[in-house]
Symmetry: C4
Subunit: 265 residues, 4 copies
């Protein structure tokens, strides 16, 4: 029976590969989760493209982003993005930093990302910007120093996604499943907003709809449905899925499954 | 010899997977058909991404959208979209609700979706909008209550597709094959209309062309040709197709095949 | 040793599948060639999505588009597109009719398709439009009657591609390889022109560049290189290619290979 | 133990296939490297689509672009693009010439390609244009003559990428890995710039950020991470990768690996 830690390592490795398979992560970016039993640590891969991350790549880090057991392999240069958000936000248990092609146009243009359909409502009421120039002047744009991560976490505030000018986005969630849902559907929402803008007008969800639709879509049912979908698609992409041998899914139980409770704090 | 019901369950499960494979459905959305022998029932999957729907996931529902034999697994929250349309439209025997990336920009911007090429003529003379705010104010945008489904069915009226503001689209058809054709080609049409708009002008089909081209393309020949295409593509995607073993298709007979007649009411 | 006719059937079936694999053809559209030994006939599939066309689907037609040996399976409704062009243009030995997503925006908007990079020069000096309304008023938009095909062939004139308003495009070539090259690279050119238009300006090739670059890229070397590329990609898509067993290609000989001469008239 | 030359041939063949697999090269374009032990030679494939290039296709050329050991197969018509740059730039050890769909709109419109996110900073401070009309009037647009290649090399100057009007781009690098990184991420940057332009504004990196971010991302860590990503993706595409048998990568060592030093001059 694998330990909670091993299960968590499997799950976050898988989430990295799922989100990469959906086109939101490429060679760069990362997905982490807070340690399942020690809120003072988080789990992150050593430096490797998310699409390739395996459970054995996942290591423990303190919230100061120091690796607990040093390894020879390179580490991600931007781990403070995650550590500083875990410090600032006790409610957050999963973080994704990405450079999704549909989100970058907002980071480049400064146009406001808005929820334009119900599945994008999970981006929340406000999507703040963060610009490294404000606090740090000219930089490599890489968030590598603790003070840079802390500045980004302040910009995120109580929100769920922050757009980093000329860089990408960082998304937070209370669970890994919620984080995955929000990350992928915010990217889909962004793509649709760009196209709607081309047609002449963008009429977004209002504040009440955003709150109501956001809550609805982050309930266990919708999240489980999307998670299964992306998970099977990953299996197909990795050659681990065959129609003839597909195990019929039991389906999500109407009461929240114990499995999800383990990740909720 | 499988029963009519079992054949129908296979077919609607397959249509879900075919339309998902063509990029029109993702984790959300659904395809249903009216029961082959009881017009007071329809067939729908339990809650599962369309790409994953198998025949054993298909259950019977009354037109009030109550499941005939209760199951433990979750059900789709928006089944009333289908039930209320089957009530309002005795001519309709298949329904698809989706959030296709090429259609959403019209739902977001309020721009009118028009038939811009012959294969898009199947969208019909009029594509109405439905806005949940009109009758229901601020909502989750999810069409879950019978009165919401009924409102949507009224907006659909005698037409074949209704665009739901800030949400997606619902498409109807007299047969599952026609519904599949209309769903996919309306999405292709929408993508072309967006690009043409970018080039400066959209000169659509006129009313007569829309009617004539729509009728032509929904004849058995074109529908069968497209159905075979999407079906084989699904087999390829599911690893159930090999060039060496491809059974030469007998080709569509010039007289309408009995198979299609079973679905026509 | 297969006959010239059998080799031709293999080749045109393959061209259908290659062009479909490159995204230019979907369930609809078709590729034909003039009969290898009888210029009064052409070879075309019975009605089937191009992606699925096999050699046994290829049948002989007179230039009046009557099938030489009647079969039970449906035929393409628009075969006169091909027959009438073969009549009007003795220099043409291959024709493709398609509804490529990147070309349709020009057919919808009336914007002029221009050669914008060297590989698009093969579209030629002039790309005429044809509008069924001009000669025929309101129609199904399907080119089914001989007079409609003849009208389209007159619009094509001495050119290599004609854009059909609200429908698609028809492309001609002196050989099947040239036709394939022109069909695919015109679609690539169109996509780039749409994007360049969005950036604010389209500065196309001038008439001399169009002629010089068009001639250069239709020489045996470039055409063979592209044909091998699309052919191997088709093999990969059909599961008939394995890296480990890849036969090293001998490479195209500097003198035109006999194989290509067979198709040149 | 394979010779340095054989290792180099494997690597440049692989880079051709990797960049093609990422959608930046299609039937046309090429990737070369300077000979590992003789700076007066470079390694290039005979004429073949980059996606298909194998080690046995790689031959040695003088910087005047004459093949050292003549072969019967066709050679690339534009090899002087590479030879002339290797002559003009002793610091350059790898060159890629391509017609990427996201870059061509800039070559067509004359719009300035700018670094819009940190991973695009590798395109450098300046992206010059080259227009064959300036020195040569009306041509085939193919850079085939030594004086044309020399003209292009002059336009490239000390920069890392030159946009060729109505044609494509040529990218240079001090190592093959750097060249691959710059080629792919410049194409990604271009796509994002086009979309940002559509949203109304493009706010690029300033000169200091471009320099700092460019340097950072071309350090061994990021380059190795991206190289592994594209390399495994190529293996997947070629059917040479299975999740179950994936060898756990040792990870990039913190000190620059000897392997990279071999390519650095």
């Amino acid at each position: 029976m694998p330990s909670k830690l091993d299960q968590a390592r499997d799950l976050v490795a898988r989430a990295n590969r799922m989100i990469a398979n959906e086109g939101v992560l490429d060679a760069f970016g990362h997905v982490t989760i807070r340690h399942p039993t020690d809120p003072g640590r988080y789990l992150m891969s050593r430096s490797r493209a998310p699409e390739l991350v395996q459970p054995e790549d996942i290591h423990e880090f303190t919230l100061d982003s120091h690796i607990v057991k040093p390894i020879e392999a390179r580490l991600y240069g931007e781990r403070v993005i995650h550590g500083e958000i875990y410090k600032a936000r006790p409610d957050v248990n999963a973080v994704c930093h990405h450079h999704a092609p549909s989100i970058l146009p907002f980071c480049i243009s400064g146009a406001e990302l808005k929820p334009v359909y119900h599945l994008g409502a999970t981006l929340g009421a406000t999507v703040p910007f963060w610009d490294s120039r404000d606090d740090f002047g000219d930089t490599t744009l890489i968030v590598a120093k603790p003070e840079e991560g802390a500045s980004l976490a302040r910009a995120l505030g109580p929100n769920w996604i922050v757009l980093m000018r000329r860089h990408g986005a960082t998304v937070a969630g209370t669970t890994l499943e919620e984080l995955t849902f929000r990350t992928i559907y915010t990217a889909r929402n962004a793509a649709m907003q760009i196209q709607a803008h081309g047609l002449g007008a963008v009429s977004p969800l209002n504040a009440a709809e955003t709150r109501l639709a956001g809550e609805y879509n982050l309930r266990p049912g919708p999240v489980a449905r999307a998670w299964e979908y992306w998970s099977v698609r990953l299996d197909k992409a990795e050659g681990n899925w065959r129609a003839a041998k597909a195990k019929p899914s039991r389906g999500s139980r109407k009461r929240p499954a114990k499995k999800f409770k383990r990740k909720t704090r």
